[in-house]
């Protein structure tokens, strides 16, 4: 006789796993929780998909993911943005394979169903074999709701979600400040480093608002800097703070003097930018040189937007959950759109210096996160502490305020 095996797991009490000052380790390691997150979070909130510079004109497209679902971000002939599930309505094949490019239509490689840039089904080969009821209008590529703010394009699978502007709330002010590093030219994407680590996506989400690790994990980066730059990156001594911006978003201000890049333009140019300033001075008036140089270095804050993107000092940090213990991260380099070549080259070099699989910073982060993932296998009922700076009303940059904000949003979304 067969034993009766339990085939359903008991319901998970998500509310009990997140307390005000800690989360249960199962949030890092339990596959059923990850599956629920993909459904309840990544299908139910605004998820960042692209920057407008990646789809600059009619026909431009980019392929990416919302949670685990492949999507195409397109701009149609009228200039309107669309985010479409990258799956043919006939038999599910991916219809758009390249990472980015320009197209007049998307033609499925399997049976050549073709779709317009807005996702409508344009043509079906040999359609006489279908019954009279078959109507192409019933089979567009599935379209997500899409909205943008400050060039940041977000999409959602939830049709009745609040408008993006209200989801972002006070974070919009920080997006405006972040975009000032375009120095008046505007921002454009200038390449990206992609890397993976063996660990849960929330470890990365936390890290963008974790100043506490910086002088420890990034000591080899800090010791490689000149004295003046090293002082600037001594972020625990700059009077910074962390602020809960609502809806899981937060900002960690590490260098308060670099919040607004259009202020303090009379300050002397840092030594490390002296050569760049000299080069720019050949073509630009002194005031413009100072504005560009100040923008080249990026802002002094990390804006963490729940659940998958951060405006981190001078780049976008985008996370993609792949499995409970597998996460992909893209560090997207930004340049001044049409700005001085020398300034944009300097931005690329700054990005390469810290970021990427061989940067002076990212590999140490990744190694740290993998150790968290491996260590989290230990203990049956242990918790991840987020109680640092719980009493701080805004005075401590190492406060875990941003993590607490993200996990309270996690809890609300998982229970909704």
């Amino acid at each position: 006789m067969l034993h009766e095996l339990p085939v359903t797991r008991p319901a998970i009490d998500y509310g009990a796993l997140v307390r005000d000052d800690r989360i249960h380790t199962s949030l890092y390691r339990e596959a059923p929780i990850f599956e629920a997150e993909m459904d309840r979070i990544f299908s139910n909130v605004w998820v960042w998909v692209a920057h407008t510079s990646e789809v600059p004109e009619a026909g431009s497209f980019k392929t990416t993911f919302v949670g685990r679902q492949p999507v195409i971000v397109t701009r149609d002939r009228a200039g309107d943005l669309h985010v479409l599930l990258n799956r043919c309505r006939h038999r599910a094949s991916i219809v758009c394979e390249p990472k980015s490019g320009k197209a007049g239509a998307f033609v499925c490689p399997y049976h050549a169903w073709s779709y317009n840039l807005d996702g409508t089904l344009r043509a079906v080969p040999r359609d006489s074999a279908y019954t009279a009821e078959f109507d192409k209008a019933d089979y567009p590529l599935v379209s997500l709701r899409v909205e943008q703010y400050g060039g940041m394009i977000f999409a959602t699978l939830k049709d009745d979600i609040e408008p993006l502007a209200s989801f972002l709330g006070p974070a919009r002010t920080w997006i405006d400040l972040f975009m000032k590093q375009g120095a008046g030219y505007g921002i454009k994407v200038a390449g990206e480093h992609t890397f993976r680590f063996r660990g849960n996506w929330k470890i990365q989400l936390e890290n963008t608002t974790d100043a506490y690790h910086f002088p420890i994990v990034h000591k080899s980066f800090l010791t490689s800097l000149d004295d003046q730059t090293g002082e600037q990156f001594d972020i625990l001594k700059q009077g910074g703070w962390v602020e809960d911006l609502g809806n899981g978003h937060s900002v960690m201000v590490m260098m308060p003097h670099l919040i607004d890049l259009e202020e303090n333009l009379d300050a002397p140019i840092p030594e490390r930018f002296a050569a760049l300033a000299d080069e720019l001075a050949l073509e630009y008036p002194p005031h413009e040189v100072k504005r560009i140089v100040r923008a080249v270095g990026g802002t002094g804050f990390n804006l963490n937007l729940f659940p998958n993107v951060a405006c981190s000092m001078s780049f976008f940090r985008v996370l993609r959950p792949i499995a409970v213990d597998q996460t992909e991260i893209r560090h997207v380099a930004l340049a001044m759109d049409g700005g001085p070549e020398a300034g944009n080259r300097a931005r690329l070099r700054i990005h390469e210096y810290f970021q990427g699989p061989m940067g002076f910073g990212s590999p140490d982060d990744a190694e740290g996160w993998e150790r968290v993932n491996r260590g989290a296998a230990a203990g049956d009922d242990l918790w991840i502490l987020l109680n640092r700076g719980a009493d701080a009303t805004g005075g401590d940059v190492t406060a875990e305020t941003g993590m607490r904000a993200a996990y309270q949003m996690w809890k609300r979304t998982m229970l909704a």
Partner: protein
């Protein structure tokens, strides 16, 4: 300190000499003798690992590495510092280079393109990093020196894991 090779010489470089130089470099990197590796370079030499394929202007593009002499020294110093957890826990590597092809053969300069396979082992995970590597080798007095090394990983435009050693 980077090496200061003697003035460049115009004598032709034989492919076999270049291949032996490349194998020597590979051996230094697998042994992580990075100080000796630094001395292989010319002052103006560039160590480049592009992200995208078919890049012509590396300076105008985002790279995984785009090092001049100063940055190579800083990179080695970081890997050696004992302060980097990824460097201290770096994978073990065994690399092989073959399929050598002359790309440019001029007096005192030989450019060689070849295939590189690095077998990497770290914490029960093995992987292979395959790459096309282009070397520009120049004659510097009575020895050869490395003037350019471009490592085009086969998957440079896809996701990487952290790399705590030199390719």
């Amino acid at each position: 300190m980077t090496a200061h090779p003697p003035p460049l010489s115009a004598a032709r470089i034989e492919l076999q000499d270049a291949v032996e130089f490349i194998w020597h470099e590979a051996d230094l990197l697998d042994a992580r003798d990075y100080e000796s590796w630094l001395r292989l370079w010319t002052d103006a030499g560039r160590y480049v690992i592009p992200v995208e394929r078919d890049v012509v202007d590396y300076a105008g593009a985002l790279n995984i590495a785009y090092d001049d002499g100063a940055l190579r020294e800083a990179r080695v110093k970081r890997l050696r510092s004992g302060l980097s957890i990824s460097a201290m826990a770096a994978a073990r590597t065994v690399r092989t280079l073959s399929r050598f092809v002359r790309v440019r053969d001029e007096p005192g300069v030989l450019e060689v393109r070849c295939a590189q396979h690095i077998a990497e082992q770290k914490r029960e995970h093995a992987r292979v990093l395959a790459a096309d590597v282009t070397y520009r080798i120049v004659r510097a007095g009575d020895r050869l020196a490395l003037d350019l090394k471009v490592i085009q990983l086969i998957d440079s435009d896809e996701a990487q894991h952290g790399i705590g050693y030199l390719l």
